[in-house]
Subunit: 642 residues, 2 copies
């Protein structure tokens, strides 16, 4: 294999630091990582790694307390100080991101610390290639970088490069396998454990702990027990022993990730037990070793009858979990998808996040673009995540209500890691926002551009191309927060009625008079009642509900006038025409960048933008035609609707 | 493997003949087959195979001219006479079907001969299992009976049983592999030829010649030539040699089946040549050996733009092939699907069949139930085929305009051959109608029931259950001939808009005002003009177009009044409610048959009827809801529409 794309850590990104005299002080594996980074940087750019004498940069780790914080200041010399190796690593990369600015005017001490302890990427990787889904479920960047032919790969150099990238942005945990745990992958917990040890060794020097997704039925399927009942003493012993074996091999193992009683995965319901019973079973096995169980709240009826308008999938997570607040052990983290449905381009924030003050929570984002263009479309999601994390759900913002931010990764064996080279920015931005969600997404984007592309002339046009791309994607896909309208087979491209008569609970209820889902308390499913004030009322009322969520909360006639002043149907037409025009503009902007970015990157993005333009046009035409046929209302501006 | 289901040749079917004294006179392999059949029958039922003395039945083959005709008479003794082994075989099975009636009152000489020389089953079998499609494309009865692991199976006993079944109903040709010829299957023509020889040996004693589907690109992909241009001398030499090799191994090889320039298969268009050029290339390689090429007319633009209402897939076969009438060699048979689209439950008969008087034609039916319930639903198609074959398309009926009837088979390794045990009746009925399309489908059904089930009390209820099942299926699926509305992924179950915005040319154009495809000359695509009188005018006019094809030819408002007196939308509601009620009645009738049919058959059909009822209900509700949402017209009878 050729060496993978350097992503946001190309040699050029280390030029400012690498051309200086640098001292690294301290001991321990992460300090060694930093020292090796500095050595490589100065070797490439003419600086020096020195032990004595005057320096431009001093990186000092005074201790080994595991802290992730660091300080940075400049008073003639630039100095990074930390009390733990992770803090030093993060401080080092902070200086890399600063570039020349780190060595300019003096600045006083800045204290940097992550806003939350858990910053995690889940990998939906299977050890084998599935004939339909491929190897990485919802992966759009080739096969797994971890596994081949049922085992962990022999050559882990690519994993090492990935671990370095994650360490540079502060990610500190990874889930190594798909939350849908198939039979082959269940064995990672047992006889394939030596393989997991090898992965843990690759992640460890970058401050990253590994997790395994486990099957709740493992005591039966792997252990041969007659039951997986969480209250059964034999089951408890099985988990205790399995967990002890893991920690004997991987002392800093992070813990488990569990998708239970969800979309066919086994769980405690089979034994009449609660999710708390299930989660605490694993938590107690992990507790002696400092491990954590991440228990997913993505639980709903996936055999819903579309005829039944009283059942509302959006309600499910809150209905299931809110009553269990306080029942989870302290080393359980309830992992809640950001919205009540499933990673749509637009959803309201999940009310579960406000409903469980006595439970540790993590919010789950999706870096892999399952419903947002599958890394064929430029859809820069960092602004979406910023909006979610800073949303004032319960006085506090979402980011302040959770202990962790978790996301599904978007990498694979693709030469650019992420299929679409520009999708690297989502991975980068995830790490940056997970560290500190008060960062401005525009600034994070510029950081990524500046690190990734050496030519400073790239920044402005590429920023223009990417910054609004999430809104562009939203404009040409499902309107006004109603969601879905995607092809059920694969979730790529439009199918307005694709999920309308399905068992998945994802409907828009469009008829000749109107569209949308009535989730009000007054006349609908009552989902608005799951929100705290003021949102329970903001969303309830047609007058106050934000336009972009209108059809998520209300069924309205096509001539309903939005807060923006246009009717619903005209808004649909307008945004879909606009979205395609914006993609056409992206194509133009990218053409200008030829010669300013690596040729291979330019060619790949050019090809994918052509596909994005084709697909966006298809979205526009299908959605517009669908609503024109249903409503009979012509476009007020007389544009062609087929 | 346990021995397969005897289908319509259980031991009991041979009781009348097997309990008699029988003489078989003649020589040759097919006479041997008959003699062996008689020997087995008398051994099981107490009769005798004798050479001299008085007999109840005499089967005489006086010669070996290859004739398929026979006479039968009774004057004290029943006598079957033929001048060829095939005729004797068919006469023998005629007597089996007559049962005791063959040995009752005397009757004068009856002359029996097939109505056409070609009666063929195509198998869309691949040598390997495809991860998505399975091994048999559009197969709903398990893996291929022919192939395993890329080769012809070692144990061909099941193929022998199948060949016997086909021989008993007069099928005389089989295509051995999928018309979509993948790389692995292309090699059946070359290095896997010894495997094909083994299959030919199994079919030969039943009067059946084998055919191979070949790839038009074979000279390139297998032969390493730079071109597959049909006018290139090197290409011609390649086909000549390959064909000579086949005939050296299989002297009675039937010939080739070709899907060219269709749905991605290679063909002559790549070289600027016509289908006639392509077909004649192969025909001339086959001619010295008496072989035939079956060239499929299923050619259309499968990358159609749904926005373009001027392109009409229904026109495609006629547009492509009618101008070529007279250009095909005499040993080319143009194989035309019965309708202009693709094996829907209801289509008008293809106008191509009337348009090529100087070309040998075969009409292609589909025994495998791709769009008609996939052998999960009882959908007895023999009445449909009878209607097609007797349709007076051009003065003559379709059956009189063609040299052959070809169909896609429905068998696999399933214990009942066809998945649904009652789908055996479609295979049986295909053979019977291919032999003589003047047979009444009700009588053919009773023949099948009588042969298959020993208990005479089965006949009446099972006849009731099956006879109208095609119309029942039509009632609960796409209305009034408009077709499709199936799930694009797999073609099973409803998706009203599933193909509406696709590239496949299969649309219904439903909007808030009406539904249907305008294929008139006056205002539509002009497809009606491809028909001869009177059909070009019958279909053109709203007043004369048959209700069941109305939406195939016309786009009409929902309140359009049908010839039946109801409006279009009310017809949709009525037929969909009725269809489900009819399936519910099927369930009741089948329940009465417990104990009268083999338990395993009863259990399988019971299970499948439950699925049929579920699926029919889903069709009803999705179609009714779809049109209620679009039209806003309530059901006149106040039934619940969701």
């Amino acid at each position: 294999m050729t060496s993978p794309d350097p992503a946001w850590l190309p040699a050029s990104a280390f030029r400012p630091l690498g051309s200086r005299r640098v001292r690294v002080v301290g001991d321990g594996p992460l300090v060694t990582t930093v020292r090796d980074e500095v050595a490589a940087a100065v070797a490439g750019h003419g600086g020096a790694l020195v032990e004595d004498g005057p320096v431009d940069l001093e990186l000092v780790c005074a201790g080994g307390d595991g802290s992730e914080a660091f300080t940075v200041e400049r008073a003639g010399t630039t100095a990074v100080r930390a009390t733990g190796g992770a803090g030093l690593l993060y401080g080092f990369h902070h200086v890399v991101r600063l570039g020349e600015a780190a060595f300019g005017a003096d600045f006083p001490v800045e204290h940097h610390a992550p806003r939350r302890p858990v910053r995690m990427l889940d990998h939906w990787d299977n050890t084998e290639v599935h004939p339909v889904m491929g190897q990485v479920e919802r992966g759009y960047a080739g096969d797994s970088i971890f596994y081949a032919d049922g085992r962990v790969r022999d050559d882990l150099s690519r994993v090492a490069a990935y671990a370095r990238l994650l360490g540079s942005i502060g990610v500190n945990r990874v889930g190594l396998n798909n939350v849908n745990v198939h039979r082959a992958e269940a064995r990672l917990l047992t006889d394939l454990l030596p393989d997991v040890v090898r992965l843990a060794e690759v992640f460890r020097p970058h401050g990253i702990r590994v997790h395994l997704s486990v099957s709740f039925a493992a005591p039966v399927t792997l252990g041969g027990l007659p039951t997986a009942d969480p209250l059964d003493p034999g089951v408890r012993r099985w988990w205790d022993r399995a967990t002890a074996d893991v920690y004997a091999a991987i002392p800093d193992f992070g813990g488990y990730v569990v998708k239970a009683d969800s979309e066919g995965q086994p769980g405690p319901f089979a034994y009449g037990r609660t999710h708390a019973d299930g989660a605490n079973l694993l938590a107690r096995a992990l507790a002696p070793f400092g491990g954590t169980v991440f228990w997913r709240a993505f639980v709903y009826d996936h055999h819903q009858d579309w005829r039944d308008r009283t059942t509302d999938r959006a309600r499910a997570a809150h209905d299931h979990f809110a009553p269990l607040d306080g029942a989870f052990d302290p080393n359980v983290v309830l992992q809640v998808k950001y919205g009540p449905m499933d990673f749509q381009a637009r959803e309201p924030v999940s009310p579960v996040i406000a409903a469980m003050p006595r439970t540790r929570l993590a919010v789950e984002l999706q870096v892999t673009q399952e419903y947002t263009g599958q890394q064929k479309h430029v859809c820069h999601l960092v602004p979406q995540w910023r909006e979610i994390l800073r949303f004032p759900l319960a006085g506090d913002a979402v980011g302040d209500l959770v202990d962790g931010v978790v996301a599904v990764s978007n990498v694979g064996r693709d030469r650019f890691w992420t299929g679409h080279p520009l999708a690297q920015a989502n991975l980068f931005g995830f790490g940056r926002l997970a560290w500190d969600d008060r960062l401005a997404p525009e600034a994070v984007l510029d950081e990524w551009i500046g690190l990734t592309f050496d030519d400073p002339a790239v920044r402005e046009p590429l920023h223009e191309l990417m910054d609004g791309s999430w809104h562009t994607y939203e404009r040409y896909t499902a309107p006004l927060g109603v969601g879905f309208m995607v092809n059920p087979a694969g979730h790529y491209g439009p199918a307005v009625d694709g999920y309308e008569y399905s068992r998945w609970g994802t409907y828009h209820f469009a008829d000749r008079d109107g569209v949308g889902v009535d989730r009000t308390r007054a006349t609908g499913t009552g989902f608005t009642g799951q929100y705290p004030a003021p949102w329970r009322d903001v969303y309830e009322s047609l007058e106050t509900c934000p336009d972009e969520l209108l059809l998520f909360f209300h069924h309205v006639p096509y001539d309903h006038v939005l807060r923006s002043g246009t009717t619903v149907v005209q808004h649909i037409y307008d945004t879909h025409f606009a979205g395609v025009e914006e993609v056409a503009r992206m194509v133009e902007v990218w053409a200008e960048l030829e010669g300013r970015v690596p040729d291979a990157v330019h060619a790949r993005v050019e090809e994918l933008l052509a596909e994005q333009l084709r697909c966006a046009t298809e979205w526009r035409d299908q959605v517009n035609t669908y609503f024109f046929r249903k409503s009979g209302v012509p476009d007020a501006r007389g544009r062609r609707i087929h």
